[in-house]
Symmetry: C2
Subunit: 287 residues, 2 copies
């Protein structure tokens, strides 16, 4: 495959790499996410990336293909493959291509992703993950994906990280949630408490425990994180399950602790390497 520039262009962050002979040889990582670019500013932003990394074809994934990005690249349905993404790439400008996202619809229910699909399918293409597997990418909106025979068969998004932020920044229980979040005892107590399934009551319990002096306020944020991540994981993980986890170290440690508490096991996957494997394969498959 000839040299090109791959961009993982998300809502608040952007990563770009120059790819030569199928490998990343130079990269950049900045905060120029889609929300920081004015609606007509994408050609100039792309030109600036080329000035840094080379006058080469661009292949982009992520929120750059949303209705708030450069051009709406739509979605391909599940089961989705790298070949489907490659065949549906949209030309945004001369030799600048944007990949679609993936949607999953079952009856009146739907779900969407943009960008994570390149990581999930790239992890399989690279052999990091077997062709039948459960994968998880934690974050503001945590994605749980099932691949079957190498295709992205279905997925679920949980607003776990966003809910934590809402509670900490805007709720009555938030005033107690000022401490650090680690995977120690308070976090694990939250995971254990989440098993009862009454999340809205468990969340009020944070405030009651603070008022009654039953828990040190320094532990409240970690406990709340355990409640939320526990509720998230318990909907997806059964005892004995293996979860392939694409996460940074901090969030990865929390999800690992929760998944192991629920009787599952974790295999860490390098999400950047998975993205690169996926986008190189897509580039090879493009017409």
């Amino acid at each position: 495959v000839l040299p090109f520039i791959a961009i993982d262009w998300g809502t608040t962050n952007r990563r770009a790499w120059r790819i030569e002979h199928g490998a990343a040889v130079e990269g950049l990582h900045d905060a120029a996410g889609v929300l920081s670019i004015p609606p007509d500013g994408f050609p100039a932003a792309a030109a600036a990336v080329r000035d840094r990394l080379g006058q080469l074809p661009l292949l982009m994934a992520g929120m750059v293909g949303s209705n708030r990005g450069w051009i709406d690249a739509g979605y391909v349905g599940c089961p989705a493959t790298l070949a489907m993404l490659a065949s549906q790439a949209i030309g945004a400008a001369d030799d600048a291509w944007i990949l679609p996202g993936v949607s999953h619809v079952a009856g009146s229910r739907g779900d969407v992703m943009r960008g994570e699909e390149v990581q999930f399918l790239g992890a399989v293409a690279a052999g990091f993950v077997p062709p039948d597997a459960l994968m998880c990418q934690p974050g503001t909106h945590c994605k749980w994906a099932r691949v079957e025979r190498g295709a992205l068969a279905r997925f679920t998004t949980a607003m776990t990280g966003e809910l934590f932020g809402l509670l900490r920044d805007h709720s009555l229980v938030g005033s107690a949630m000022r401490g650090a979040v680690g995977d120690g005892t308070p976090f694990r107590e939250g995971v254990a408490r989440s098993i009862e399934g009454d999340l809205t009551a468990a969340l009020f319990g944070i405030r009651a425990a603070s008022i009654l002096g039953l828990r040190d306020d320094a532990d409240a944020a970690a406990y709340a994180s355990g409640l939320l991540i526990g509720a998230d994981c318990r909907s997806q993980v059964v005892a004995g399950a293996t979860v392939h986890l694409l996460a940074d170290a901090a969030l990865g440690g929390l999800y690992r602790a929760a998944i192991e508490t629920l009787g599952g096991s974790v295999v860490d996957v390098d999400s950047h390497a998975a993205f690169l494997a996926g986008i190189v394969r897509i580039r090879e498959l493009m017409p």
Copy 2:
């Protein structure tokens, strides 16, 4: 019992009545909740109530007895009775009494209420509710209370209403939540969806359904309300259960729909009449 003034003094609202011969003969209802009164402003606020309703003893319940109110009146533990509340009333000033709240502690878990206990126990004292019953008072913080042999045995608070407000006003799914909330089909679909127990994923589904055009945005708020109220009720109501509901008409209709969907039945209880019955009985029991 001699004439007195009863005040149900909450966070954002206040109701007061002059009680003669055990019955309310004149009342006021205003937005002078605890948060609107400066910390040293309670004597003047109480004097203004007496100027309206008579120079009589005051008996107060609710957040006026919290650390943000006139004086912290503490809590009595479960099982709690009207006699316990009466015996623990705190004198805030000459012939001005504040009732404690109720706390429930089980191991490392706790819960608190202030004001609702007068309604719950008053409903039993008045014969509106049998001495062994499940009661619910919906709201920002929804209270589910079990009375056993006439005493408040235990209770659970769910932050159902607060979570709805957080989602509508501060979350990414909130932009779709602009429609009215009634107990029609979208609300009932939300209740049905809540049965799966994966609330954080179901909430993200609101946004995905909006993006994919699977649900009219006008229905999103009602669906979200159904998810949250459904999750709340499903933790408390088993098929065949009777719930004694202390609610206004709008919220009462939503909880009735959710409880009936879950196979429970509802008996409406007049919460103001319950409060008056409770506070009159407490006044009779005071030393």
